[in-house]
């Protein structure tokens, strides 16, 4: 059952006799070494967070952003090979843009996830390419309001064809897309090195019940990243967090960075819990200067 030495793992897009594509499995390994990314879906929005490992002290603090906007209402974060992640984001932006051109309305998160799932899948199909070395978490809030189509400048005819099907529209959505192109919708998603610990914490939140707000989710996300970082404790990290609320919330349906004060407060709580957890453990000498911005 081993992959190595059989030759079936030397080329993308070929099956082994037992029906596996080893190159895709190896791509997943690249993801599993990356800093932890998580996403939380609550009733009133989405929170995305990532543990950015600081590889060198010479990096400019807080300058190298890892969570990207795909459209004004969609954000994406990824673990694994960062240049691959940038490629993913570029493509996602192109998809969102072409959706706007075709339909004159922002792309629903579900459709974006579907398009990107298809894109990643295509990179498992050919010997001439390799799969993406990332798992991406895509979160968005599709608007629930009656919105004008892009470029509409008057109200148009009051009667006639058009109009929306009555019922519930929009809301927060969260998807995680793997190197194989497989994607699922999530209430809480985690990937990267600390995903096991992060998933365990996410499960405790009982997110499907829908009783935490994005403000609480920001604190939970910070806490979870700090817990996930325990798998990677010898390295320093920065916490980056973004959020998208529904239109009546603090971000008005837009994907933006969590305000500094809020993030710092969440980090303070996370650190406090962290310290009380390892009280018996010896004091980490550099714990203090670790996250000073």
């Amino acid at each position: 059952m081993t992959s190595i030495g059989t030759g079936y793992d030397l080329l993308n897009s070929i099956f082994s006799p037992d029906g596996r594509n080893f190159q895709v499995e190896y791509a997943v390994k690249a993801v599993e070494n990356g800093g932890t990314s998580i996403g939380i879906r609550c009733k009133d929005g989405i929170v995305l967070a990532v543990e950015k490992i600081v590889a060198s002290k010479l990096q400019k603090p807080n300058a190298n952003k890892r969570i990207a906007s795909v459209d004004s209402h969609v954000g994406a974060v990824y673990s694994g090979m960062i240049p691959d992640g940038r490629h993913f984001v570029d493509r996602a932006r192109d998809e969102a843009q072409s959706w706007r051109q075709n339909f004159k309305t922002p792309i629903p998160t579900a459709d974006l996830a579907s398009r990107m799932g298809g894109y990643l899948q295509a990179y498992t199909m050919y010997g001439s390419v390799r799969p993406f070395g990332i798992t991406a978490i895509v979160g968005g809030v599709d608007t629930s309001e009656e919105t004008p189509v892009d470029g509409e400048v008057g109200s148009g005819p009051a009667v006639g064809a058009g109009g929306k099907v009555p019922g519930k529209h929009g809301g927060p959505f969260l998807y995680m897309i793997e190197p194989s192109g497989l994607y699922w919708g999530y209430y809480g998603a985690a990937t990267g090195k600390g995903r096991q610990a992060a998933k365990a914490e996410l499960e405790k939140l009982d997110l499907p019940a829908g009783n935490i707000t994005i403000h609480e989710a920001v604190k939970e996300a910070a806490r979870i990243i700090y817990i996930a970082h325990k798998d990677n404790k010898d390295k320093e990290f920065e916490l980056e967090m973004t959020w998208i609320s529904t239109v009546d919330g603090p971000t008005k349906g837009r994907h933006v960075e969590v305000p500094k004060e809020l993030r710092e407060e969440a980090e303070r709580l996370a650190r406090a819990e962290d310290e009380s957890d390892d009280e018996e453990e010896e004091e980490k000498k550099d714990d203090d200067n670790k996250m000073e911005d």
């Binding site: 599993e32 300058a63 010997g127």
Partner: protein, 276 residues
């Protein structure tokens, strides 16, 4: 012939999820002579040690102006660097033409990052064998980016790439707190000292082999910052700077007070050759 089965091309993952061809391309950067970049609040400096193929040949350029407001320092395959540099020049020119403004540095670096990533994901291509330090200024101030063959780009306060660059990086890390408030002159001294750290035992900075490049912001009309265009200093223009950091004079001359002492500890030469 190959070290293992997984390093033949850039579209094959190893069982550990690594792509050896990208890592090998990273090694090509380490074959190039060292370049250093440092950013202060107002300026970015690029510093390089140039090599000559033989005694009578000229020295290979290491710093290239891309546009008025941005420049690169290269380490690795010069011809790959030229491809990227031409691309960057075109993008900057195009941006000036269509928007009437200098290209934001982050955007520019993003574009070469994208370009380089494609080469790591498609069969028949190879990663670029060159690393860059991209220096520039825009509305958000001075920036210094590192670019790697993998397509990875990161904004740095200061950085060094190329042969024995770890020594220079160690110097930069020791002095990182002082860079933000450096004057142009102080920036140059730090840059040259960092370069010296990476030189092999009996090699010296000379007017022939040293390049300095500076770009920054100056006070413009009505108090708004305006671009102080990139200027490359070569040959005798670098003489005074080189002398000011020579061992005999140490750091005491201009009294900027940081980084003293360590400069003397230059190159404990492990014998790695720095010429091509």
């Amino acid at each position: 012939m190959f070290r293992n089965n997984y390093d033949n091309d850039s579209v094959t993952f190893s069982p550990q999820g690594r792509i050896f061809q990208i890592e090998y391309a990273g090694e090509a950067v380490k074959q190039g002579s060292v370049v250093v970049g440092i950013a202060s609040k107002t300026h970015v400096g690029l510093f390089a040690v140039k090599r000559n193929a033989e005694e009578l040949s000229s020295y290979q350029k290491k710093l290239f102006e891309i546009d008025e407001h941005t420049a690169i320092a290269i380490a690795g395959l010069t011809s790959d660097a030229r491809v990227l540099s031409n691309f960057m020049k075109q993008q900057c020119l195009g941006h000036r033409l269509t928007y009437g403004r200098p290209m934001p540095i982050h955007t520019l670096v993003g574009q070469i990052g994208e370009k380089a990533q494609i080469n790591t994901q498609v069969y028949g291509k190879r990663p670029y064998g060159v690393g860059l330090l991209v220096a520039g200024v825009d509305e958000n101030g001075p920036h210094l980016f590192e670019f790697q063959p993998s397509g990875m780009t990161e904004e740095m306060v200061a950085f060094a790439i190329g042969a024995r660059s770890q020594m220079a990086r160690t110097y930069l890390e020791r002095n990182i707190e002082s860079f933000a408030d450096c004057s142009k002159e102080e920036l140059v001294k730090h840059g040259l000292r960092a370069l010296k750290e990476s030189l092999v035992q009996d090699k010296e900075l000379t007017v022939e082999n040293t390049s300095v490049g500076l770009v920054g912001l100056k006070e413009g009309p009505n108090g708004r910052p305006s671009v102080e265009p990139f200027k490359l200093y070569d040959g005798f223009e670098t003489k005074e700077w080189i002398e000011s950091v020579s061992e005999s004079q140490g750091g005491e001359g201009e009294g900027e007070g940081e980084g003293e002492g360590e400069t003397a500890a230059a190159g404990d030469g492990d014998g790695m050759e720095v010429d091509s």
